[in-house]
Subunit: 284 residues, 2 copies
């Protein structure tokens, strides 16, 4: 059967994952080339704007408590922040919640790794974006041996149970792995060094992490294989081309919102009676 | 001396305030008509994007702890939410914080009226938007007699002291009164009744508040007169035309950011040495 939606195309199939077999510069599901992107973005912006307002209206009026969590993961420079900027920029900021997870604070470390995640979840009607997430605890946590292997093992299952609960409770969980190659990263880090306006984004520690690329790739492959479920699958988003990456993440959100079939909340008042009450205040 | 900036034009002069003398459909400082708005918006979006990134970079790197608070007040349908949608939509969501203040919760009522405000202030490098604010406590608080007159009196001075502290601590406080007339509101409430997709935005209580228009206007006039200071002035933004209102609020933010003269944070590493370290990881 032909894959008709982007969600179907980018959704990770079951089985072992080999990221080196994924093309970071592919543009699956995009019917055109870069020059068609502004038309595609404009069309997408309209869908997102309409769908988000329906979601928000349902949440505000209490008619539907569904919500969306977009988890963005990927190597340094894969564009987690840039994606949020472009995609969330198409949405009403009042219905958007962005959380960037850094190295845990002492208070956060005094709790289970999911504690700080729980506190940052979007409420009814909202779309939450996570720039990094609980997955860091089985990625850098594993590569840098910040936790015992037993604890890392425990976390895979804990993550699955956690995400299942979110989905059962009405949250759409969209996990996007922004896929780039070592070459993509090399070019982007060089660009940061070449532009004084980008120096603040460059951290010498990025090169130290880059040296561990194969180990991070392996850690991601395990995560993608073990933590992709029917209710909260991983999507592999080719991110070597920024314009495609931004469009694709927006499109994934749009498709999932449309699938909810959200209608406008019905009036809880008599429309004609209100027209009369309003008319009576024509001069105040 | 000619007023050259929009900030100078919209800034409330000292002295008694008569809102009936303000034209809600004026477009001061906008050199053109509605058809020029998309070019103006595009130009503004570039300024805001650049300036916000400088502010954010300074905040993240700790080189400058300045920040911006945009307070939006105005009658129902004046477009506080719409302004945030359009203006914050031009900004990077990671550097934006939106807070909508509703009727206080029991927990909030158990504290001083500024307690919940304090907890919602933007941090270094951020731009915060308040959809309603501490001013509700001297507006609906006064009109609906939710507090004693003595308490209302105390609040004007408390607000002034509070805002002075914010400004002294590096926060730019931009207070925008979105000015509409009773006729503007009538048209907008009717439009909500006429469109089923807008019914969820309509609340019969809005008509009850509308009946109190003259008392709200007087309460606003007192607020504008008593709480406009050299460090935290009020700006009266004609809001009968939505496109002008959105442009004007964005322009006010842009002018204030440009006045900070923000430069890019300097590199805290040896750029050439990093180029070499990076080159050594060309293949990983």
């Amino acid at each position: 059967m032909a894959k008709t939606t982007l969600s179907e195309r980018l959704r990770l199939p079951d089985g072992p994952v080999d990221l080196t077999a994924h093309d970071s510069r592919a543009t699956p599901g995009f019917g055109g080339s870069k020059k068609d992107q502004s038309a595609a973005t404009a069309a997408l912006a309209e869908v997102l704007s309409d769908q988000q307002e329906r979601l928000y209206a349902a949440g505000v009026t209490g008619t539907d408590d569904r919500r969306v969590l977009v988890v963005l993961q990927g190597m340094d420079t894969s564009g987690k922040g840039g994606t949020i900027r472009r995609v969330a920029g198409m949405l009403d900021p009042q219905g958007v919640q962005v959380t960037s997870f850094k190295a845990p604070t002492p208070e956060e470390l005094a709790h289970d790794f999911l504690w700080r995640i729980e506190r940052s979840l979007p409420g009814a009607g909202k779309i939450g974006f996570f720039d990094r997430s609980h997955y860091e605890d089985v990625l850098i946590g594993k590569v840098r041996a910040l936790a015992d292997p037993d604890e890392i093992e425990r976390r895979y299952d804990a993550i699955d149970a956690f995400e299942r609960r979110l989905v059962d409770d009405g949250c759409i969980v969209l996990k996007c792995f922004l896929h780039i190659t070592p070459d993509d990263q090399l070019r982007r880090l060089r660009a940061r060094l070449d532009d004084p306006a980008k120096h603040w984004k460059y951290d010498p520690a990025d090169v130290d992490e880059r040296r561990l690329w194969p180990r991070y790739r392996e850690a991601y492959e395990v995560v993608l294989e073990r933590c992709s479920s029917s209710y909260a699958p991983w999507f592999v988003v080719p991110s070597g081309r920024k314009w495609y990456r931004n469009w694709a993440v927006g499109q994934l959100i749009g498709e999932h919102l449309e699938a909810l079939g959200l209608t406008w909340p019905e009036a809880r008042f008599d429309v004609d009676a209100e027209r009369e009450r309003l008319a009576a205040t024509a001069t105040v």
